[in-house]
Amino acid sequence: MTIGEITVSGVSKRFRLERNRPSSLKEAILRLGRNKDVDDFWVLRDVDFHIEPGTFFGLIGHNGSGKSTLLRLMANIHRPTAGEITTEGRMSALLELGSGFHPDLTGRENVFLNGAMLGLTRKHMADAMDDIIEFSGIGDFIDEPVKIYSSGMYVRLGFAVAVNVDPEILLVDEVIAVGDEEFQRRCMDHMNMLRERGTTIVLVSHNAALMRSLCDRVGWLDHGQLLELGDADHVIDAYLEHVSSGGGNTLTTRD
């Protein structure tokens, strides 16, 4: 595999929703031997695709279509129930507000912690620190615990770290919608810069206009299945048509 490549082969993900899940050992013991009251909820079913290095890839779909779960699987946060995902290269992920920050640590300590999690040395992070502080624009707050940060500061610092660690793969889950206009513009600029450098970027969103302006290729997920995959314009048109015909706004319910 070459660096920046992502292969998703036959991936399914099941979450078990245990109804009346025993919350204590006592209950668990009392219920031994009885059938578990579980609902299997397949968030993804047999998803298969491949992302070439350097592609700006978008995942689109309505709420609950499984796109965020797929991103989490790529980020190795969950393990697929079936199938396999392989990624090659250093991966940086921005999954949600304050991805991967520990509330009690200061911004600076969190930057080092994040670096360690990405496999970067302290020295590397120390060198990148000025850029990160500058990019995030949070100034002296870098030495305050992140739990006192505003949501905007959280996201700005998170994004600043994610893009300043020379990722070879960047996973982004609509977080950029949180910052102000100015910050959003900077994010776009930076993502474009990373794209030019050859970074593979996977963006999850249901903002069709944003996807159209950024992505080369788009995958459309619907109820955990990959409906279409291809050129951004083509897939987004199909998706929008589906949404306007009223098919897109139903929340997924249990199968």
Binding site: L25, K26, A28, N76, A93, S99, E109, M117, G119, R122
Partner: protein, 270 residues
């Protein structure tokens, strides 16, 4: 540094990071800081020395040179191994809980949080061990057998981590585990000969099985090896060394594989 694979180096960095955090954050907002880490063992030693040494007037076993008989020292020697065991087992549950939110948002090898906590515990224990050895040296009751204290502490650490890995995973699901462990530790303190010498059980009215249990349960073996090394200054029974090592390696291995098999599920706990 040794040549490590990138993923091993990443794990080492993370372990250092978590160890640092554990050591620093523990007494962050306290004036006396590290002093508190000694307060707990010292009060335990003081209280039990008073109750057993003064109130009951119990005679501690004779030391090697015959002039360090002190109930406090006898206790401290046993307590040092026991507190590694309890500190790491209960610590593991907290260390895992402490990173569980983080783990839902970013991938990292979760075991590094537990290993990092264990490193912090080891540093703290090393300080206690130095204090113990200095006191023993002042009583001129010291010998090369002190290596058995180190050996005992390493085995205790491995054994405790093995148990800790398992209970941490279980505790992520059922929070009862931490209370259950608290109770078991309270009972264990008296089932391990810490406040009494095992020879006290060499009586006809003590059932054989009780005597065997108090002699052969793993923490008791660790305590005895530590005591042989710095209190009695003798080489421990080779059979006991072997059994203790087997318990430590076996438990660590089982715990490690159990943790590795289950650690990906932790991010799915609600």
């Amino acid at each position: 540094m040794l040549t490590l694979s990138p993923s091993a180096r990443k794990s080492v960095n993370l372990i250092i990071h978590f160890a640092e955090r554990e050591s620093k954050s523990r007494y962050k907002r306290s004036l006396l800081g590290w002093f508190w880490s000694f307060a707990n063992p010292l009060t335990t030693v003081a209280v039990y020395s008073f109750v057993f040494g003064v109130v009951y007037n119990a005679q501690p076993p004779v030391t090697a040179n015959g002039n360090a008989e002190n109930f406090g020292l006898f206790l401290f020697t046993g307590l040092i191994a026991w507190s590694v065991f309890t500190g790491v087992v209960t610590g593991c549950m907290g260390w895992l809980q402490g990173v569980s939110d983080l783990r839902k948002k970013i991938y990292f090898p979760t075991e590094t949080a537990l290993l990092g906590g264990a490193v912090a515990n080891a540093i703290q224990t090393a300080l206690e061990a130095v204090v113990l050895l200095v006191i023993m040296a002042l009583f001129a009751n010291i010998s090369w057998t002190a290596v058995f204290l180190v050996f005992s502490l390493l085995l205790t650490m491995a054994f405790a981590l093995g148990i800790g890995f398992i209970v941490a995973v279980l505790n992520a699901r059922y929070r009862d585990i931490q209370y259950l462990i608290g109770v078991l530790i309270g009972v264990g303190f008296f089932l391990v000969p810490i406040v009494y010498p095992p020879s006290l059980l060499d009586r006809d009215d003590v059932p054989e099985i009780g005597r065997q249990f108090v002699t052969w349960n793993p923490p008791a073996l660790f305590v005895e090896i530590a005591r042989d090394g710095v209190y009695f200054l003798q080489t421990p029974d080779p059979l006991k060394l072997l059994v203790a090592a087997a318990w430590a390696v076996g438990t660590f291995t089982v715990g490690w594989f159990y943790f590795r098999a289950r650690s990906m599920e932790i991010s799915e706990e609600p």
